[in-house]
Symmetry: C2
Subunit: 413 residues, 2 copies
C-alpha cells in the first residue's frame, strides 16, 4: 500500500472486513484513540445492558437475581466466553478479581505442584504488578522460594532444575514483543517448571490456543482489548487436566464445592470454580460480558491481520515523516513478533505524548522514555494512523510539545 496518500487509506478502511465493528463502539468525536491496550473503548451496547442489570435485575428482582438472572454463574459464563478467545475448553476460565489477585492464586497453586523446587523465575521489566505480587508472595512465604529475574530473551536459558514456576508476559507491555507461547512453555516443561502466562496484552487481539500451546496456567485483563470497562474483572485460565491438583490460597466461599451449605470446612469446588473467591462484582462483570460478546463476533484472524497492518503502517509513516527527530523504535519491526502496539523512544517522550493528547491523539507514556500507541482493530482505522503520525510530525516540527505545563501528567495502563 502507498503510505503517502490518505485517500488510499480511506479505501482500505472502506474495504476493511472489520469496518462494521467501529460503529458498535461509542468513540468521542475529535479523538484518535490509540490507547485501547490500556482502557478499551465503550461498546454501544454496554449502557443499555448496565441499565437493565441495575434497574431490572438489581432494582426489581433484587436478591432473587442471584438465581433468576444467574448472577451466581456469571464468573463462569463470562469466563467461558473469554475462554473462546483463548482457545480454551469450556470450564477452563473464570472471570474474577483483578489480574494481580489472580496471579497470586495461580503462582501459589503452581508452587505446590513443584514442592522441591525453590525458584520462581520472571523477566526483568515485567509488568510491575506481576513482579510486586511475586514479591508479596515471596515475603509471605519466607524462604519457600527465591524470585529470580532474567532479561526477557535470556529467561529460557535461565531455567534450571530448581525452577518451580516461570512467570512471563506473553506480549511485553513496554515493547510489544511477543514470546512464543508453545516454545517457551515447552522449554519450561522440559526443565520441569510450570509456566504462568500474563495475557493482558494478547487476549482479544492475538489468536490464541492455550491448550494447543500446552499452557498450564494464565491470567489476563478485562479492561484492555476485551473492552470490559475501567477496572473490569480479570480472568484466570487453568488447563483442565490440572484442576484436581490445584489448590489456591484465596479460598473464599464461592470457590467452595457447596458454597451455600455453609459448612465450616473449606472444600474446593471441582474444576475452575475453585479459583473463585468472594462475591463477584455483577455490574462490572456484566459490562465485561458485553465487550467479550462483541469480540466473539469478529474473526480472530482478521483482527490479527489488521493489527499487524496498522502497526506496519505506523512505523512506515514515522520513518517517512518523522525521520528527522530523535525517535528510536522500541518494538519489533517484524509484525509477526509484535503485539498490537508500536513503541517509540524519545528523550522528551512524556511531553510529546501530552502534546498529542492535547490534540486528541491518545496514546500513552511508559517510563523512562517510551511513547506507546496501541491499536484495537475493531475500532482503529487506517486513516487514524495517518492522522496520528501527521499530528506527531506537526508537534515535532513546531516543537509544540516543549511546554512546561505538559510535563507532569500521569495515566494508568
Amino acid at each position: 500500500m502507498s503510505t503517502h496518500h490518505r485517500d488510499a487509506l480511506e479505501t482500505l478502511d472502506r474495504e476493511d472486513p472489520l469496518a462494521p465493528f467501529r460503529p458498535r463502539f461509542r468513540l468521542p468525536s475529535g479523538v484518535i484513540y490509540l490507547d485501547g491496550n490500556s482502557l478499551g473503548a465503550l461498546p454501544t451496547a454496554t449502557p443499555e445492558r448496565l441499565r437493565r442489570v441495575i434497574e431490572e435485575e438489581w432494582g426489581e428482582a433484587l436478591i432473587r437475581s442471584w438465581n433468576d438472572h444467574d448472577w451466581i454463574g456469571l464468573p463462569i459464563t463470562v469466563g467461558d466466553k473469554i475462554g473462546r478467545l483463548l482457545g480454551a475448553h469450556p470450564g477452563e476460565v473464570v472471570a474474577a478479581d483483578s489480574t494481580s489477585v489472580n496471579l497470586f492464586k495461580v503462582v501459589a497453586a503452581a508452587l505446590e505442584l513443584r514442592p522441591d523446587r525453590r525458584i520462581v523465575l520472571s523477566e526483568e521489566g515485567n509488568f510491575p504488578t506481576d513482579l510486586y505480587m511475586l514479591q508479596g508472595l515471596q515475603r509471605l512465604l519466607g524462604d519457600r522460594f527465591t524470585l529470580r529475574t532474567a532479561p526477557r530473551r535470556e529467561v529460557v536459558a535461565a531455567l534450571d532444575d530448581d525452577t518451580a514456576v516461570l512467570c512471563l508476559s506473553h506480549v511485553s507491555y513496554r515493547t510489544g514483543e511477543i514470546l512464543d507461547l508453545a516454545t517457551v512453555t515447552a522449554a519450561a516443561r522440559e526443565a520441569g517448571a510450570v509456566t504462568v502466562w500474563d495475557l493482558a496484552h494478547s487476549a482479544g487481539v492475538l489468536p490464541l490456543d492455550l491448550p494447543a500451546a500446552g499452557v498450564p496456567l494464565a491470567v489476563g485483563c478485562g479492561y484492555k482489548y476485551l473492552n470490559g470497562g475501567p477496572g473490569a474483572p480479570a480472568f484466570l485460565y487453568a488447563a483442565r487436566d490440572l484442576h484436581d491438583r490445584l489448590h489456591q490460597p484465596l479460598s473464599g466461599w464461592l470457590g467452595h464445592a457447596r458454597p451455600f451449605a455453609f459448612s465450616a470446612e473449606y472444600a474446593p469446588a471441582p474444576g475452575i470454580a475453585r479459583f473463585r473467591c468472594g462475591t463477584p462484582p455483577i455490574l462490572s462483570l456484566a459490562a465485561l460480558e458485553v465487550g467479550v460478546d462483541l469480540l466473539l463476533e469478529a474473526d480472530p484472524g482478521q483482527i490479527r491481520d489488521k493489527s499487524r497492518r496498522l502497526g506496519d503502517l505506523f512505523l512506515a509513516l514515522v520513518a517517512e515523516r518523522c525521520a528527522r527527530w530523535d525517535f528510536t523504535i522500541a518494538c519489533p519491526t517484524d509484525s509477526a513478533r509484535r503485539g498490537s502496539q508500536i513503541c517509540l523512544r524519545h528523550p522528551d517522550g512524556h511531553a510529546i505524548v501530552q502534546a498529542l493528547i492535547e490534540r486528541g491523539v491518545i496514546g500513552d507514556f511508559r517510563a523512562p522514555d517510551i511513547l506507546r500507541f496501541g491499536f484495537a482493530p475493531l475500532y482503529v482505522r487506517y486513516v487514524d494512523i495517518w492522522d496520528a503520525v501527521e499530528h506527531l510530525r506537526q508537534i515535532m516540527e513546531t516543537r509544540s510539545w516543549d511546554r512546561p505545563d505538559l510535563a507532569h501528567r500521569g495515566a494508568v495502563t
Copy 2:
C-alpha cells in the same frame, strides 16, 4: 406501641424521621424487602450516576478519566466516606476487592505483628468465607499458625498467650447477636492478640466508632446495608498508628508508593493505600459511592433506633400471631444486643421462606433451619413488618409452605 393495629403503625411510619429516605430507593411494587442485609436495595440516584460514569467518563473521556475524574483516587475517596460510617479518621479505610480478599490481607498483616505466636482464633459458625480464607492462609503458610475456633460466647475465654490474631464477626450473620467491640478488642489486646473484625452486618446500620473501641483492623461488605449493588467492592479499615508496621501480601501495583514509576521493587505506599492491590473496578465503586452517600445523609442514631424498634415489633407480632407453630427465636430478644435482623428457627424453615418469597415477602434462609429477616431502616416501614408477619401467619395457617416445588431454591447472602 400497640402491635395489634396496623393503623398505629401507619402513624409511626408517617412520623418516622427516616421516612424521607424510602422514596430515594427504587423498590419493586408488591414486595416487602427484608433482605437488605444480604443485598441492599437500589438507590434511585444510582442509575444516573452509572450512566454518567459509563457514557461520559468511560465513553467520552476514556483513559483520561483516571486523572480527570479521579478514578485513581476512588478507592480512597469512597473508603473515607465509608470511614465516616465507622467513626474512622480520614485515611483509615479503603474500598477495594472483596471482603474475603481483604480479610486475607489484614490477617496476614496482623500475623506479622505477632511473629512468636501461633494461634489464629475465630468463632465456630463464623461466616463461612471468613473461616475458609483463614484455612487457605493456614494451608499456604504450613505450620506458621493453627486455626482454632471456639463458640462465640467462649471466644474471649479461649484467648491465651499464644493467640496472635482474633478474628470475629461483630454481628453474627446467623443470629444477629452483637459482640461488644470495645470489650472484646480490649480483652484481646490484654492477651496480646490483634483483633480483626468483620463488620459485614454492622456497617451502615449500627453506629460505630472503631478508634474509640480501639479496633486495630476490620473488613466489611459494600453490598448489604451500604447499598452498593451486587458484589460491590468491600472495605478494609486499619488504625492509622499501625499503618507503617502493616505489610499485606497482595502487594499489587496500586498499593505501591509510586505506582506509575513502574519500578521493579515493591515499596508499600504510606498509609491505607498499601492495602490496595490491582486496578479498581470503577463501575462497581461508583455504585457503591452512591449508596454510601445516601447513608451519610441519615442520622446513625435514628437508624439504630428504628432498627431496634422494627426488630422488637417483628418479635412481638410473631409472639402474638404465630405462637401456635414451632418457631423458636434464634436471635437476642434484647434489641441492644441484636443487629438489624430477626432470626427464627423452624424445622420447615426453608420451605416457609420460599412460600414467603412467593408472596413477595423476601427474607432468606440459613442452613440448617433459620429464617432470617433483615431490616434496612432507610426503606423498611413499620407496616411492612406487620404485613410480613401477617403473611407468615397465613402461610402457617393454610400450610401453604408445604409444597414440594418450594423445597429446593437457593439464595446468596
